[in-house]
């Protein structure tokens, strides 16, 4: 037993920024932990990896990851990632943001990035509320739950994120909770190896706002709820994945398919029209070490 052992995720984090701003019991750190391990296991080149995030609690991830990263304006993480990927097609671009950022204010960018099949991995941490601004209703807030802006209970229809991503054309769609750490790590690892618009929804507790306002206990209680009420259903029909207040949560990998990416489609079309005059957009995608991967 030597005392020199260091945490395996330390090399992926900016240790000078620790401790993080996340509340005790928040699940974002757990998802980052899974992401750091997925980066190790997928053996991708960290020098060619970029993390982009928007505003919000989850938006802080780009500041904590020790890779090239950018903290964009609210909702524009995917817009920035689009430019980043097209400007430097060699990069593995990961968009890591919350649902208020990606789906509410950035909803337009989200559907179009999925429609174009832009080659980015999009991790959306869904905690059902706007955490950083004080617990307002977000687009995934379940009906009847109470929020700062809905003290009598929320009545809007929430988004079903896997259904949205699937119908817009994402090639990989998965949903896990922060309780399913091993599965989440595997999903992130698999998604890092794919091309196209890959979407992973991570259900995460928000003990300070969502749990407290609805008297659901702390982060640990939320984790126990995920443990009890989540049902694994790989390949489930995404239209049936709606989440109601404290209802069953269907988790799993729902979509895994292939479609030409934005660069593929552009190259194919211009080659057809312009012939040899066209200099194709480079696509230096190499499946990161197809051989001997870790488990």
């Amino acid at each position: 037993m030597t005392e020199v052992a260091i945490n395996p995720v330390n090399p992926y984090l900016r240790m000078d920024r620790m401790p993080s701003i996340w509340c005790p019991g928040c699940g974002i750190g757990t998802s980052v932990n899974c992401f750091a391990r997925a980066l190790t296991q997928s053996k991708i080149d960290l020098k060619k990896t970029a993390v982009v995030s928007g505003i919000g609690c989850t938006g802080r991830v780009s500041g904590y990851m020790s890779v090239d990263s950018f903290h964009t304006t609210h909702g524009r993480a995917l817009a920035f990632a689009t430019g980043l990927k097209l400007g430097n097609p060699e990069l593995n671009v990961v968009v890591y943001s919350g649902e208020g950022d990606l789906i509410a204010i950035g909803g337009n960018h989200f559907i179009h990035a999925a429609r174009r099949n832009l080659d980015v991995l999009c991790v959306c941490v869904n905690n059902f509320t706007y955490g950083m601004t004080g617990g307002q209703v977000s687009p995934t807030s379940p009906a009847t739950a109470k929020f700062t802006t809905a003290p009598l209970g929320q009545f809007e229809e929430p988004f079903n994120l896997p259904y949205l991503a699937d119908s817009c054309g994402a090639v990989y769609v998965a949903r896990w909770t922060t309780f399913h750490v091993r599965e989440l790590t595997k999903a992130m690892r698999d998604a890092l190896k794919k091309r196209g618009f890959r979407f992973i929804e991570v259900i995460s507790p928000c003990p300070t706002l969502y749990q407290r306002r609805n008297r659901l206990g702390d982060g640990l209680d939320a984790m126990k709820y995920y443990q009890e009420k989540s049902v694994k259903k790989n390949g489930a029909n995404t239209s049936e994945l709606r989440i109601d207040f404290q209802s069953e949560i269907t988790v799993g990998t729902f979509v895994d398919r292939e479609r030409p990416t934005f660069a593929d489609a552009m190259n194919a079309r211009y080659k057809e029209v312009l012939g040899p005059r066209y200099v194709p957009c480079p696509d230096n995608y190499v499946p990161p070490q197809a051989k001997g991967e870790g488990t």
């Binding site: 037993m1 395996p8 019991g25 750190g29 982060g219 126990k224």
Partner: protein, 85 residues
């Protein structure tokens, strides 16, 4: 590996955990989801006033690192102790 009738024999230590006490926020995920339930929250405090986890049943720890995977604050991780050591 267990030999019959060796009830009094102490179990071999298979793994251990390292805790960075000052980074812990006392959420208790590691204690709750430790598969052999080898961890407990300390009765003492760290500088921020949280109870960090301690390995109270060292012989039960398998070094599986699930605590490390759950920890939202990167404060704990498990390691497997090699048999030769």
């Amino acid at each position: 590996m267990s030999d019959a009738g060796g009830a009094a024999k102490p179990k071999k230590v298979r793994g251990t955990v390292f805790v960075e006490v000052e980074r812990c926020k006392g959420c208790g995920f590691c204690v709750e989801f430790c598969p052999p339930r080898a961890l407990d929250l300390d009765t003492g405090f760290n500088k921020k006033g949280y109870h960090p986890p301690v390995l109270t049943r060292e012989e039960d720890c398998t070094g599986c690192d699930l605590c490390g995977l759950y920890c939202p604050d990167f404060a704990i991780f498990g390691v497997i102790i090699k048999k030769s050591a």
